[in-house]
Structures are given as structure tokens and as C-alpha cells.
């Protein structure tokens, strides 16, 4: 498959007689590369689905154990029609967004402010490492005791999954600021707060956004783990329930929705990143 596309790419670039301009050519070359990547990905996915479908004929034990793409599609349609797909996605999406927002807000504020004091950051360091090494799932029972079985406990799980990562990435960004740039600010007479505001915060944005992209997934995992423990709605609830009833294709259907949700959230973060860091648009 891949070789086919590559050879066709080489062939297409051969007729160099009526080429417009080098810039347009380079642009076309990049676009063609992107198309080739997308086409190959689609082919790989299609091949996987075909093999999966063939290996799991209707009514066979394999279909029961592994589901089949057509059965999964059927459940997706059914869930969309009875509205549970949208409801569960909205519930999990809300939990994820709230946890993502709170975890990143708290983590980033703490991480950046640690730049202020070498002493405090040294004192705090082992505690952060200790907290960061706790598997969040181990906290789920306590979180449910503290925050109940509703929305708050899922948001808390999601927040906890995010906060340490956000703290570490933003702190790393803040202490990674070029020492010469700090010297420059000092020679221009900047106070510590001015250095923080005009240099440290904008310079850390790259790391902060790297953290944001990473924590989208963590926030979603946190919310779903929370739903696994105890819940009456949400994608985690749907997965857990379908799993307990051995309806494997429905598990996969809910997973597909989860994946789409993650992709949408990641795409949103990327959009915001480009909006907030216009100087990086042309890089």
C-alpha cells in the first residue's frame, strides 16, 4: 500500500514541463504528502475493520467475545437514536472539562508561583513527587466518600489526575527561562514581579500548552475512572454496564464515543494554543 502511493508520488512529480512556480510546487508537494499520509491511515483502518468483520461472523463465539464492526456500528446508531450517546457524552464531557480546567488552573498557578522562591520549591519538591506517584485510581474510594456519587466526585477525580502534571510542566517551563533573558530584564531595571509577568509567564506558555495537551487525556481518564466506581450516567457508566452484561460491541461503541470526545477536546486545546500564541503560527 505504502509503496504504491510512494511510486505514484514520484511519477506525478516527473512531468516538469509546465510547472508554475517553485513556491507553488513546494506547497503542492507538502499537500500531496499530507494526502498520502491520510490515505494510508484510512487504508490501514479499513483493512483492520475488514479483517475484524471477517473473523467475527454473526452468531459465532468470536463475535460474542470480540464484537464486530457492524455490531458496534449498530449500537452506535441505536445509542444515538435513544439519546443515551449524547447524554453520556455530555455528562463525561462536562466532568472532563471541569476537571481539566480546575486541575490546570490550580496546577499552573502553583507551578508558576514556585518560580518565585527557590526555598519553597525545594521544600515542596519531595511532596510533589510523592503525590505524583500515587495512582489516582487508588484515591477513588476516598473521593467518593468525600464528594458523594454525583458530578463532584468525578470532577474531583479528573482534577486530581491533572493537577500534578500541570504543576510539574508549568514549573519546568518557569525555571527553564533563559538566564540571559533574566539578566537583560535586570539590567533594564525590572522588579521580580515584572520579570515574572513580562518574561516568566509568556516564556512558560509553550510548556504550559504541552501540559494542557497531555492532561486532556488524563482528565478524561479521571472522569471515567470516577464513573466506573459509582455512577448512573456517563460514558464510563455505559462501558461498565455493557461490560457487566457481556455486551462487548456496546463496550466498544462507548469506547468509540470516548475516543471521539478526546479528539475533539485535544483539537480545541490546539485551537486555543494558536489563538494565544500568535508568534508561533509561522514556525
Amino acid at each position: 500500500m505504502t509503496t504504491d502511493i510512494e511510486t505514484s508520488m514520484v511519477d506525478a512529480s516527473k512531468p516538469a514541463g509546465s510547472v508554475p512556480s517553485p513556491v507553488a510546487r513546494a506547497k503542492w508537494k507538502r499537500a500531496r504528502f499530507g494526502i498520502a499520509v491520510l490515505a494510508t491511515q484510512a487504508l490501514v483502518l479499513a483493512a483492520l475493520l475488514v479483517v475484524w468483520e471477517r473473523a467475527t461472523p454473526k452468531g459465532s463465539p468470536a463475535a460474542f467475545m470480540f464484537g464486530s464492526p457492524s455490531a458496534i456500528a449498530g449500537f452506535l446508531v441505536q445509542m444515538a437514536q435513544d439519546g443515551s450517546l449524547w447524554r453520556d457524552a455530555a455528562v463525561t464531557g462536562t466532568e472532563t472539562l471541569l476537571g481539566f480546567f480546575m486541575g490546570n488552573l490550580v496546577g499552573t498557578l502553583l507551578g508558576l508561583s514556585l518560580w518565585y522562591s527557590r526555598f519553597v520549591s525545594r521544600v515542596v519538591e519531595p511532596f510533589v513527587i510523592a503525590l505524583g506517584s500515587i495512582p489516582i485510581i487508588a484515591l477513588a474510594p476516598i473521593v467518593i466518600i468525600w464528594f458523594g456519587t454525583g458530578l463532584v466526585s468525578k470532577v474531583a477525580m479528573s482534577t486530581l489526575s491533572v493537577v500534578i502534571v500541570a504543576l510539574v510542566t508549568s514549573y519546568k517551563g518557569a525555571v527553564g527561562v533563559d538566564g540571559d533573558q533574566i539578566y537583560l530584564m535586570k539590567t533594564l531595571g525590572a522588579s521580580k514581579f515584572q520579570i515574572f509577568r513580562k518574561l516568566v509567564i509568556p516564556a512558560s506558555l509553550t510548556d504550559i500548552f504541552a501540559g494542557l495537551k497531555l492532561t486532556v487525556g488524563f482528565a478524561l481518564i479521571g472522569a471515567i475512572v470516577g464513573e466506573f466506581m459509582s455512577s448512573s450516567e456517563g460514558l464510563g457508566h455505559a462501558i461498565f454496564k455493557a461490560g457487566s452484561l457481556y455486551i462487548i460491541p456496546k463496550v466498544f461503541a462507548a469506547l468509540v464515543v470516548t475516543i471521539v470526545l478526546a479528539l475533539v477536546l485535544t483539537w480545541l486545546v490546539g485551537k486555543i494554543e494558536r489563538l494565544l500564541m500568535p508568534w508561533r503560527r509561522r514556525a
Binding site: Y183, L184, L188, A190, K198, P278, W279, R282
Partner: protein, 275 residues
């Protein structure tokens, strides 16, 4: 700022002219750094003077502590011994009205050329409209008209260094401290920026201390060239550069036969210092 009126305390040494204090007087400064508990001397004993409106170049073999010297001068490092006086005063922390420029342009990538230029004025609380006007005018003077709203990533190395120069000059410094600011640029770009910079500095009556390893650059720009020994650093020789009255045109100066004589002599000095 803690201040000590040292100008008249020790007359003979500071070369203080009656009444007006010299922009910069360095007396017997020593500086070392700590390596596993042992002090490694970088600057052994260094004295120099910068007069008003004077351009002084410092050349020395690589690794002779030029950057340490500069960081000590502008208060980022404290000297182990000796005294540094700015306008007759010993200063704790950063001296006032001193512009500092390095080989790295240190432009903030998230700020446009204009916003980078405005940085110092912004920090000092100059009203935004005034800061913008002054910065635009400075960018125009340095040939960056039309590039004010460009981000550094879209500018060439020479243009970026011009923005850095604008950022320095817009604060109206009495003294400029430059640490090989154009070393990373190609020869032609470097000559053009140098010539613009020297004419702006001379026109403004500013003093300038330029640290460089490029002897031709040192001779063409400076009124005086100070040659340093290798570590631990001290002054090896001082040359008064006399190349006629028009020192603003640093490009045609290079054709002066005396120019190459100075360069050869300083080169010979450095050569000895290396061995």
C-alpha cells in the same frame, strides 16, 4: 541604591576630572569563581577608565574572562576585590542608565519588534503612547521602518540584532556595555550595523565599552583599545587609536594605512598573550 561619594575620597587614583565624574572607573577589580571549594581566579587585577563620549574596545584571547568582566561591571556579579564607580559612585545592583547588549539578541519571541523595543520603557513606567512613539522612531533610525509589527521569528539575524540595539538605545543610556554583539553576523551585515551604531552613539555623546575578539572591529570603532592578558586577566597594553577626526565612518576608516598598523600591532600583542 547604596551610595558612597568616593570621587573625592581618593583623588589620584580615580582620574576624576574636577566637578564632573567619569562615567566609569574600574580600580583593581579581581573576580574568581568557586570550583569544588577552590577559588579559580578569572580577573587578577584590572583597572580602566571610560570618559564621557569615549568608545573603548577591550580585546583579549578567548576565555580571558571578558564576559565575567562585563557581568561584574553591570552589577550582576560582585567583585571579590577592587572598586567600580559609575559617575563617581559605587553602586549596589544594576547601575542606572547603562545599556547592555550581548551576542544573543535575547528578543522575546512573543513580542513584536516594536514591543521588544518598548520593553525597557515599559518597565520604567513610561506612558504607553510615548514609549511607542520613541520606540518607533528608534526602529526607523536603525533602518527597521515597516518591520515594527514583525515577530522576531520572521526577521533575519542582522535585523534581530538591530532590534536589540534599538531596545538598548531607546532607554537613552549614558553608557553602553557591549559583549561581542555582532559576532554571530556575517561580515557585511556586521559592518553596516556597526557603522549605524557608532554614528548614533557618537551623535548622542554616549560612552561605550565594547568587548570583542575582532581586532579590526575594535580598532575601527574605538578611541582606545585595551588588550587583556589571558587568565588570570590583567591589562596588557593600551592603544590610543588616532585615525583622524571623522570616526563615525567606520567603513572607510579601514582603508587608512594606520588602521592596519594598529591591527598588526595589537595582533602581535595578543599572539604573545596566547603563548
Amino acid at each position: 541604591m547604596s551610595v558612597e561619594a568616593a570621587t573625592h575620597a581618593r583623588p589620584g587614583q580615580g582620574e576624576a576630572v574636577n566637578g564632573t565624574a567619569l562615567p566609569l572607573v574600574v580600580e583593581h577589580v579581581a573576580k574568581g569563581y568557586d570550583l569544588n571549594g577552590q577559588v579559580v581566579p578569572v580577573i587578577a587585577d584590572l583597572s580602566l577608565t571610560l570618559r564621557k563620549g569615549e568608545i573603548v574596545s577591550i580585546v583579549g584571547p578567548s576565555g580571558c574572562g571578558k564576559t565575567t568582566l562585563l557581568n561584574t561591571l553591570c552589577g550582576l556579579l560582585a567583585p571579590d576585590a577592587g572598586r567600580i564607580r559609575w559617575h563617581g559612585r559605587q553602586v549596589v545592583g544594576q547601575p542606572q542608565n547603562v545599556g547592555y547588549m550581548l551576542q544573543k539578541d535575547l528578543l522575546f519571541p512573543w513580542r513584536t519588534a516594536l514591543a521588544n523595543t518598548m520593553l525597557g520603557l515599559e518597565i520604567r513606567g513610561v506612558p504607553a503612547a510615548e514609549a511607542e512613539d520613541r520606540s518607533r522612531a528608534m526602529l526607523d533610525q536603525l533602518g527597521l521602518h515597516g518591520f515594527a509589527d514583525h515577530y522576531p521569528a520572521t526577521l533575519s539575524g542582522g535585523m534581530r540584532q538591530r532590534v536589540a540595539l534599538a531596545r538598548t538605545l531607546v532607554n537613552d543610556p549614558d553608557v553602553l556595555l557591549l559583549d561581542e554583539p555582532f559576532a554571530a553576523l556575517d561580515f557585511q551585515t556586521k559592518l553596516l550595523i556597526e557603522s549605524d551604531m557608532v554614528s548614533l552613539v557618537r551623535k548622542g555623546g554616549r560612552s561605550m565599552l565594547l568587548i570583542t575578539h575582532d581586532i579590526e572591529e575594535a580598532v575601527s570603532i574605538a578611541d582606545r583599545v585595551i588588550v587583556l592578558t589571558r587568565r588570570p586577566t590583567a591589562v596588557k597594553a593600551t592603544y590610543e587609536i588616532e585615525l583622524g577626526s571623522d570616526r563615525a565612518d567606520v567603513i572607510s576608516l579601514r582603508e587608512n594605512p594606520d588602521f592596519s598598523r594598529y591591527v598588526r600591532r595589537i595582533w602581535a600583542d595578543l599572539d604573545v598573550a596566547i603563548q
